[in-house]
Symmetry: C2
Subunit: 225 residues, 2 copies
Amino acid sequence: MKSPSQPRDRGIPEATVARLPLYLRALHGMAERGIATVSSEDLAVAAGVNSAKLRKDLSHLGSYGTRGVGYDVEYLVYQISRELGLTQDWAVAIVGVGNLGRALANYGGFVSRGFRVAALVDADPEVVGDTIAGLNVEHIDDLEAVIKRRGVSIVVLATPAAAAQEVCDRVVAVGVTSILNFAPVVLSVPESVDVRKVDLSIELQILAFHEQRKAGGPLMAVDSQ
Amino acid sequence: MKSPSQPRDRGIPEATVARLPLYLRALHGMAERGIATVSSEDLAVAAGVNSAKLRKDLSHLGSYGTRGVGYDVEYLVYQISRELGLTQDWAVAIVGVGNLGRALANYGGFVSRGFRVAALVDADPEVVGDTIAGLNVEHIDDLEAVIKRRGVSIVVLATPAAAAQEVCDRVVAVGVTSILNFAPVVLSVPESVDVRKVDLSIELQILAFHEQRKAGGPLMAVDSQ
DNA sequence: CCGACTTTGTGCATCGGTTCACAAAGGGAT
DNA sequence: ATCCCTTTGTGAACCGATGCACAAAGTCGG
């Protein structure tokens, strides 16, 4: 019942998807330095992964390498970009223009790869109307209208924790299915909506755990040898 | 009566460590709402995970639940905090006080759980000497001195990509072994140093991949090549 | 004190992902 | 054209994480 028209396997493992942007960045750097072809070994080192893993990852996209030679940098950049959907233009809205939202609006890494900050939204009347990173901050009451008017398909939540779920519900109601959440809450969304979470304090806590272990805590029975 | 399972298995799976902060946050919320005990089912829902997974995760810390009842919220908060090393005070330095570094310095989530921003460092003479979030911004030339003086054990890198590796090398040289890196580069560090990476543009790219797939559906036409 | 009920802790099957190791494929030299 | 050298692409073993399902352990009402 499935359409066999696709030459490539469309079931790319999640772990692979998460690494493709890494390869892409390394490849961009190489392209800028005028490198035309690269071996899996060199690219793996540049991306900080094992070369067998890299080859298996790329094999999920298709057979784009040349044995005995390696991969054509430009071509691979194109293929990965296309696979990730970066050949199209994504309109992103940032909701919550506090310190973090502001930083995100100004973050160069967004625009650089197919993403465009298309709207800034906040609830604070003090901030609404300000121009940040060349964009006018709009009022949260107009959230739905702004999303539709600007064709926003990805929403970045940088609101306080207490407001995140409500904003989330509203953007989901107008059809947004991709959300990047910086608020420290577990969002509840329909199955069809994709939420990714970035939590700064969780990362620190994980570091603290390992740091504590290294340091050898007071009540700790270290099993080293 | 607590069971004599104090120094429980110290080999806690990485995946479990990554979820403990999530449980901790949910538990804090419950403690604030006056909830005394919680079942694995309820806590799992609050943390957005499967209850069997939660029980297995907690079992790695010890046997802290009571069958037929659940877990004592306060006690579990304490146990997880201790395991993560949050019962001690961690001095964090933020290097790079651009938009992102500023946002991090003001981010409440840091201080709230055992972390203390102990120093801000930047290379820009325009910024050095400013007071941000109650802290004086110090010059990058004094990096090593500041780290030693303030007892910094975790460094947050919020510098431009080009500067990250050099700063990293310097902090590693004075003994820092835990780094949270926001710069879009692969840092090379000795085996003993722990680096965690947060990359905003990578998260967006992963979202774009799934969004593209949703939008296109199984019969999406993709041109040849 | 007992028996019904609740919920934990875990053995086990399973799954996705990683790594190894090598045959197959291609380029370049002669 | 043929041989040698390099590097890809992948089968297969391995490893850690997940989720099911249930016995064990404990509570509570009567």
